[in-house]
């Protein structure tokens, strides 16, 4: 079995979850068998030189489908947002290392910021009630996937930047009284950094999913560099191959 491959996939559904956020399900039998939580796919956008990296939000092995949730940022995601059921989209998948879920009897804190929330959904599945999602969004409008986590039995706490929903403030504000044994986090860098610091203070392992601009997505072009803490000092690893999920302590937060 190839570790990753390109696939022409039928779009089964694409709907606007919240203004500017899309929920795309494609049929991809092979990748659905091997994909793991936290991995990503590179989606081809006709006319664009580069594919777009999007995290896998859900994997349905039985149906052979992958779900992606993405926000419209620029021309590429705009084009992806226009995909309709019955269209084709080409995927390069599954890519990256994904979350090492480890012992799923542990209590997990899932910390997500905005469009960083989707990859946490598949990771939440084996934990169910033992998972708490703390998620931050811009505003009430931008809250996504809340019900999806609730359906899995996870605790869900929401913060918004403008206070229009849930807590008015930061994701990290929500964590104070939550007990957990491991953290999986995805979101903007400052948030990840704060979550990592918090986990560090509690002495709990923390894994963060990072972003970087990509070309190949498979480790060949060395485009998606990220500064990591090595034995002999900092060095450039690569998000697509060494990540996107890294132990928080290996990240060099400031260059």
């Amino acid at each position: 079995m190839k570790p990753y491959d390109t696939f022409d996939c039928a779009v089964l559904q694409n709907r606007e979850l919240a203004p500017g956020f899309f929920d795309l399900t494609v049929s991809c039998l092979q990748a659905a068998q091997t994909a793991r939580a936290g991995q990503f796919a590179q989606l081809m956008v006709p006319g664009k030189t580069l594919r777009r990296p999007i995290s896998i939000c859900e994997i349905d092995r039985n149906q052979g489908t992958l779900r992606f949730v993405f926000g419209v940022r620029g021309g590429g995601t705009l084009q992806l947002s226009r995909l309709k059921a019955g269209d084709q989209v080409n995927l390069l998948a599954p890519l990256g290392n994904g979350f090492n879920l480890g012992d799923t009897s542990r209590r997990v804190l899932l910390a997500g910021g905005g469009i960083g929330v989707p990859p946490l959904l598949e990771a939440a599945k084996p934990f169910g009630k033992r998972a708490v999602l703390t998620a931050g969004f811009r505003s009430r409008d931008a809250v996504i996937l809340k019900e999806d986590f609730e359906k899995l039995g996870c605790g869900v706490r929401i913060a918004t930047d403008d206070g229009s929903f849930g807590h008015h403030g930061l994701v990290t504000d929500l964590v104070e009284d939550i007990p957990f044994d491991v953290v999986f986090a995805c979101g903007p860098k400052p948030m990840l950094r704060a979550v990592a610091a918090l986990a560090h203070r509690r002495g709990v392992p923390c894994f963060v999913s990072m972003e970087e601009r990509m070309a190949c997505g498979i480790g060949a072009c060395l485009g998606c560099a990220i500064q990591l803490q090595g034995e002999n000092g900092p060095y450039y690893g690569h998000v697509c191959k060494d990540g996107p999920v890294f132990p928080a302590e290996t990240i060099v937060w400031e260059e």
Binding site: K2, P3, Y4, D5, T6, M44, K48, T49, L50, R51, L92, E212, R213, M214, A215, C216, G217, I218, G219, A220, C221, L222, G223, C224, A225, I226, Q227, Y235, Y236, K241, E255
Partner: protein, 303 residues
């Protein structure tokens, strides 16, 4: 069946499709898609004498019909390549080209000498990388410096020597002629054009390096023109590259004067592109009753 094998400076490649340096790593990642023996050859990621960390990210920006990169020659150094990658690569049944870059002529010469002892098929001299001596101007942008680095390396190099030219020049024909005179066995062209993008939200260049190298389809007409111009100035074979993304582009490049081509950026959107190109090229040769790929070289009938 049309003959696909081509000879470049005495080295035979089973077909004229070679992976371009920096876009294919050392081949490991692409064997997931097809055996590397599918390709005529692989030009490995650019090597320097010592390990190089490369430039800080972001290193990638998209442009209309192309992309910029500022990877900055991140590589594990030539010794690591010889030890860890080369033995494996040699077993893959494809031509192996070592692409080298240096900060000084001495670096280049030392690498050429070292690699001459190893089973690489060819050495590709990248004289178009930034961060070299001469106040930041690359060796590749004047006839004199291009010739002097070529002849220096020539003296230390026992392998067929291919010099990779920069397109950021006014007179590509002159530079091609200069490196031929200085002892190059072949020329590969073109490397990237320097470009820039700015994020209008942050008002900062997208690349941390400010500028980067433009590759991809946008580059194709410039590459074709330069190969055509250079091929009228030199007798040594030219390996053409820059923006090739379809089999038709391959044919165009051969017609313009190339004896083989390198395939780069298109691999990022379609890793199977070389397989498709090979098939398209074969069909074209057969439908047009051309006996071999080599017969296309330089066969454009200019006006």
């Amino acid at each position: 069946m049309a003959e696909l094998e081509v000879q470049i400076a005495g080295v035979s490649f089973k077909n004229p499709l070679i992976a371009a340096s920096g876009t294919f790593g050392f081949g490991h990642e692409f064997q997931a898609f097809y055996p590397l023996s599918t390709l005529g050859g692989i030009s490995c990621k650019g090597l320097t004498l010592e390990e190089r960390p490369g430039n800080p990210p972001p290193r990638i920006a998209e442009t209309p019909g192309g992309m910029l990169n500022s990877v900055g020659l991140q590589n594990p150094g030539v010794e690591h390549f010889i030890r860890e990658d080369l033995p494996w690569l040699k077993r893959q049944g494809t031509g192996v080209i070592a692409n080298i870059a240096g900060n000084t002529p001495e670096d280049y010469c030392a690498m050429a000498e070292r690699l001459s002892e190893e089973p690489v098929d060819m050495i590709e001299l990248n004289i178009s990388c930034p961060n070299v001596k001469q106040g930041g101007a690359a060796f590749g942008t004047s006839c004199e410096s291009a010739a002097s680095i070529t002849s220096a390396v020539r003296r230390h190099c026992k392998k067929p020597l291919m010099v990779k030219l920069s397109p950021n020049v006014a007179d590509i024909g002159g530079i091609a002629a200069a490196v031929e005179d200085a002892g190059a066995d072949a020329i590969s062209m073109i490397n990237t054009l320097t470009g820039m993008r700015i994020d209008i939200r942050t008002r900062r260049p997208i690349l941390k390096n400010n500028t980067g190298g433009l590759s991809g389809p946008a580059l194709l007409p410039v590459a074709l023109r330069m190969v055509w111009q250079a091929s009228s100035r030199v007798k040594i074979p030219i390996v053409g590259l820059g923006g090739i993304s379809t089999w038709q582009d391959v044919v165009e490049m051969l017609l313009a004067g190339a004896s083989a081509v390198q395939i780069g950026t298109v691999l990022f959107s379609d890793p199977y592109a070389p397989v498709k190109m090979l098939k398209g090229l074969e069909t074209y040769l057969e439908e047009n009753h051309v006996g071999s790929a080599a017969e296309l070289t330089g066969r454009v009938r200019s006006w």
